[in-house]
C-alpha cells in the first residue's frame, strides 16, 4: 500500500490495520472526547490486532456484524436504496474469513456505554438472504446524535438524505453566508479532513467548533498533519454531488465567473461516481452555469458537461472556494 505521507504512532498502526487512510482524524476525535463514537469497517483478517490496538489506547470496540462486499454492478433488489453500501451481511463471528472483501463493522468509543448506545442505532443497509435490510429513518437521527455530531447537522441530514431527490451539499452551500474551510466536508473520504459529517451549512458554528477541536487534537499528535489538513481544505472545489467532487489544484478566480486550474483531482466516495475527470483533464478553466459545467482550454471551449440524475444521485454542480 502506498501512503500519502509518512504516518507515525497510532495513525501508522491504524492505516496498516485498516488498509485505509480515511477516518484517521475521527479516531483522534474519539480519543480526545470531541465525538462520542465512530463506526468503521475493519478487514476481518486484521480484526484481532485492531481490537488489541484499540484496547492499548483505552478504546472500546463493539461489533455489529460482518460485511462481505459486493461488486459495484452486482444485481440485487433494493440496492438503489443504499447508494453507498453494497455488501452482504453475516452474523459475527460466523461470517468471518480471510477474504480481502470481508470486513467487520464496528463501533469504537472511549466509553462502553456510549459504544453500546451507538451500536443500537448503528445498523447499516446490507443484504441478508437477498433482501436489503434497512433501518427506519429515525435510527439515522439517533445514530448521528450517538456519534456526537451537531444536532442541527443531524436534523439537516435527516431532511436531505435522499440521493435521488436532494443534493445535501448544494443545499448546505445555499444555506451558507460564507464558505468556512473548517466546515468543508468535501475531503471526508481522504485523510485531509477534521470532520466526517455533512454540515447543515458551510459556516455552521457547531461544525466550525467541532473541526477546530479535532484539529487541535491532531496537532498535539502530529503537527505536520494538522498543517496539511488546513492547507488542503482551503482550496477551490468543483462539487457535483455527495459522491462526486474535485479539488482544483492551483486554482484562481478568472474572468466572467470562470476559475482557472492546473489539475482536477477526484475526491468523491467511489470511482464509479467519477464521470468528469477525463473531461476536466482536457481543460484549464471552467465555469458552472445552470447545471452545466463549461470547460475551456486556452480560451477555447472544449467541453460542456450536462448534469442530471446519475446512478440514482442528483447532480447539482457548484464551484466552491473555501476561506
Amino acid at each position: 500500500m502506498n501512503y500519502s505521507r509518512p504516518w507515525k504512532g497510532l495513525l501508522k498502526e491504524l492505516v496498516e490495520l485498516r488498509l485505509n487512510e480515511a477516518l484517521l482524524t475521527q479516531y483522534v476525535a474519539v480519543l480526545a472526547g470531541v465525538r462520542r463514537a465512530l463506526d468503521d469497517w475493519i478487514p476481518a483478517r486484521h480484526f484481532d490486532r485492531f481490537g488489541e490496538l484499540m484496547a492499548r489506547h483505552g478504546l472500546v470496540v463493539e461489533v455489529d456484524c460482518v460485511f462481505k462486499r459486493l461488486g459495484w454492478e452486482a444485481a440485487a433488489s433494493g440496492k438503489e436504496l443504499a447508494p453507498t453500501t453494497r455488501a452482504v451481511g453475516a452474523r459475527y463471528p460466523d461470517g468471518m474469513d480471510d477474504n480481502p472483501g470481508t470486513e467487520v463493522h464496528v463501533i469504537v468509543s472511549s466509553r462502553a456505554d456510549w459504544a453500546v448506545e451507538t451500536l443500537k442505532s448503528g445498523w447499516y443497509p446490507i443484504f441478508v438472504d437477498s433482501r436489503m435490510v434497512r433501518k427506519p429513518q429515525v435510527d439515522h437521527k439517533w445514530l448521528g446524535l450517538a456519534f456526537g455530531y451537531p444536532e442541527c447537522c443531524v436534523d439537516f441530514f435527516i431532511g436531505h438524505n435522499d440521493w435521488p431527490r436532494f443534493n445535501t451539499l448544494a443545499d448546505a452551500a445555499e444555506a451558507s453566508s460564507k464558505l468556512r474551510w473548517e466546515a468543508n466536508c468535501l475531503l471526508k473520504h481522504s485523510p485531509w479532513t477534521p470532520m466526517f459529517h455533512m454540515p447543515c451549512s458551510f459556516d455552521c458554528p457547531a461544525t466550525v467548533e467541532y473541526s477546530e477541536r479535532v484539529l487541535a487534537a491532531v496537532e498535539d499528535l502530529d503537527p505536520d498533519y494538522a498543517v496539511q489538513i488546513r492547507t488542503s481544505l482551503k482550496q477551490h472545489f468543483l462539487m457535483v454531488s455527495e459522491g462526486q467532487s474535485y479539488v482544483l489544484t492551483g486554482a484562481a478566480d478568472g474572468r466572467e465567473g470562470r476559475v482557472t486550474y492546473e489539475k482536477a483531482v477526484f475526491v468523491g466516495s467511489q470511482a464509479p461516481y467519477d464521470r468528469f475527470s477525463g473531461s476536466l483533464a482536457k481543460g484549464n478553466e471552467l465555469r458552472v452555469e445552470d447545471g452545466v459545467i463549461f470547460i475551456w482550454n486556452g480560451g477555447e471551449l472544449v467541453e460542456s458537461l450536462e448534469t442530471g440524475c446519475h446512478r440514482g444521485v442528483i447532480e447539482a454542480p457548484m464551484l466552491l472556494r473555501f476561506e
Binding site: R49, G51, S77, K141, G291
Partner: protein, 336 residues
C-alpha cells in the same frame, strides 16, 4: 437557455438565424402557459435545444427536432412531462418482464409518451385521443402488475386504485388490475395514520397505509409508516398513539400504529409488545418482524435482533420466545 455549443452550431449562420426564430416562438409559447403549466416547465426544464442528433435522454434538456421546430404550449409541456416521466422511471426500479398485448416496439418509450400525453391533456383540460385512451386501458394494468409499477404511477400523480401500499409484495406475484382490487378487498388494510381523530384534525396528518412485505419475497421492507410519521411533532404522535392503544388487542392496524409510534418515541418495550400482537394477527409480515428486531436491538437484546434478521425466525411463536434478557455486550477480541 439555448446552448449552440451543444449541437456544434455556434459558427453556423443559418442555424443561428433559425435560433432567433425559434427563440421568438418559444417566448410566445411560454407566454401562453398558465401558472401551473409554467411551474411544471420551469421545475423540470433547464435547457432547450434544437437538434437532429440522437443524443439520448439528458435530464432537464428539452429537445425539439431541427429544422422545423416550432414550440407550441402543448409541445413544451409535453416535453417537460416526458422528462419528468423518464426521471421517475430512472429512480423507480420498476420492472417490465413482458410486453402487454397491442403495444409495439420499446414498451418504456410507449409508456413515456403515453404518460406524458395523459398528464399534458390533464393540464390543458383536454381529453386524451381515443387511440391513446385505448392504449392506456392496455398499458395501465400491465404497469400495475409490474414490480414497483403502482409506485411509479402513484408518483406520476395517477390515481392508483387500490393505493400501491396495500398490495402485498411478493416476488413471484403479478397482479392485474382486477386481482389488485380483489387483493385490496381481501387483505387486511393496516391504516397507520390518523384513524381516530376528527375529520378536521385528520386532514393535517399523513394517512399512511402499510404495504405488507412477505417473507418469501426479497423486496426491502416498507418503512413508509415510521418515516412519514417521524416528522410529526411529539404531541401529534402521542395523540395518534392514545387513539391506537384503546383497541390494540383487537385491531391489527391499531396495534401496528401503536408499535410505530412507540418506536418513534423511543418506548421500545412497548413497541415490542405491540409488534408481537401484530404478528399474532399476521405472522408473515416483514415490517412487523424487522421493526421488532430493531426494537430488540434498542433494548440491548442483540441476540434477538440477530435471530430475526440473520436466523429469519419463521413463526410468531419463534419471535415471542426470543431471549428475554439483554444479551451480554460483545467486545472485540483482544479487549480485556
Amino acid at each position: 437557455v439555448w446552448t449552440p455549443e451543444f449541437t456544434g452550431e455556434s459558427n453556423d449562420a443559418p442555424a443561428m438565424s433559425r435560433l432567433d426564430s425559434f427563440q421568438s416562438a418559444l417566448e410566445r409559447a411560454t407566454g401562453l402557459l398558465n401558472a401551473e403549466q409554467e411551474q411544471l416547465v420551469a421545475s423540470v426544464c433547464r435547457f432547450i435545444t434544437v437538434t437532429s442528433a440522437d443524443t439520448g435522454w439528458i435530464a432537464g434538456l428539452v429537445k425539439f427536432s431541427a429544422p422545423s421546430a416550432q414550440p407550441t404550449p402543448d409541445a413544451l409541456v409535453e416535453s417537460a412531462q416526458r422528462d419528468l416521466v423518464r426521471r421517475l422511471l430512472k429512480i423507480t426500479p420498476v420492472r417490465f418482464d413482458s410486453m402487454p398485448p397491442n403495444t409495439d416496439g420499446d414498451f418504456r418509450e410507449t409508456l413515456v409518451t403515453l404518460c406524458a400525453r395523459r398528464a399534458t391533456a390533464g393540464l390543458f383540460g383536454k381529453e386524451l385521443s381515443a387511440a391513446d385512451e385505448n392504449l392506456w386501458q392496455t398499458v395501465e394494468p400491465h404497469v400495475l402488475g409490474s414490480k414497483y409499477g403502482a409506485r411509479f404511477l402513484s408518483q406520476l400523480g395517477e390515481e392508483v386504485s387500490p393505493p400501491p401500499s396495500t398490495l402485498a409484495s411478493d416476488e413471484t406475484a403479478t397482479y392485474t388490475a382486477e386481482t389488485a382490487i380483489q387483493t385490496a378487498e381481501t387483505a387486511t388494510r393496516t391504516a397507520v395514520g390518523a384513524a381516530q381523530g376528527s375529520e378536521a384534525e385528520d386532514a393535517a396528518l399523513p394517512t399512511v397505509v402499510l404495504r405488507k412485505t412477505r417473507m418469501a419475497s426479497d423486496t426491502p421492507v416498507d418503512w413508509h409508516a415510521p418515516d412519514s410519521l417521524l416528522h410529526l411533532p411529539p404531541t401529534e404522535l402521542v395523540r395518534i398513539y392514545e387513539g391506537a392503544v384503546v383497541n390494540w388487542a383487537e385491531s391489527e392496524s391499531s396495534a401496528y400504529r401503536a408499535a410505530v409510534i412507540s418506536y418513534l418515541l423511543g418506548k421500545f418495550e412497548e413497541s415490542r409488545k405491540y409488534l408481537l400482537k401484530c404478528l399474532e394477527f399476521d405472522g408473515d409480515v416483514e415490517e412487523y418482524r424487522h421493526l421488532l428486531a430493531f426494537s430488540l436491538r434498542h433494548l440491548g437484546r442483540f441476540a434477538g435482533f440477530e435471530q430475526i434478521i440473520f436466523g429469519r425466525a419463521q413463526q410468531a411463536s419463534d419471535v415471542a420466545e426470543l431471549p428475554g434478557e439483554a444479551t451480554p455486550v460483545r467486545r472485540s477480541t483482544g479487549v480485556a
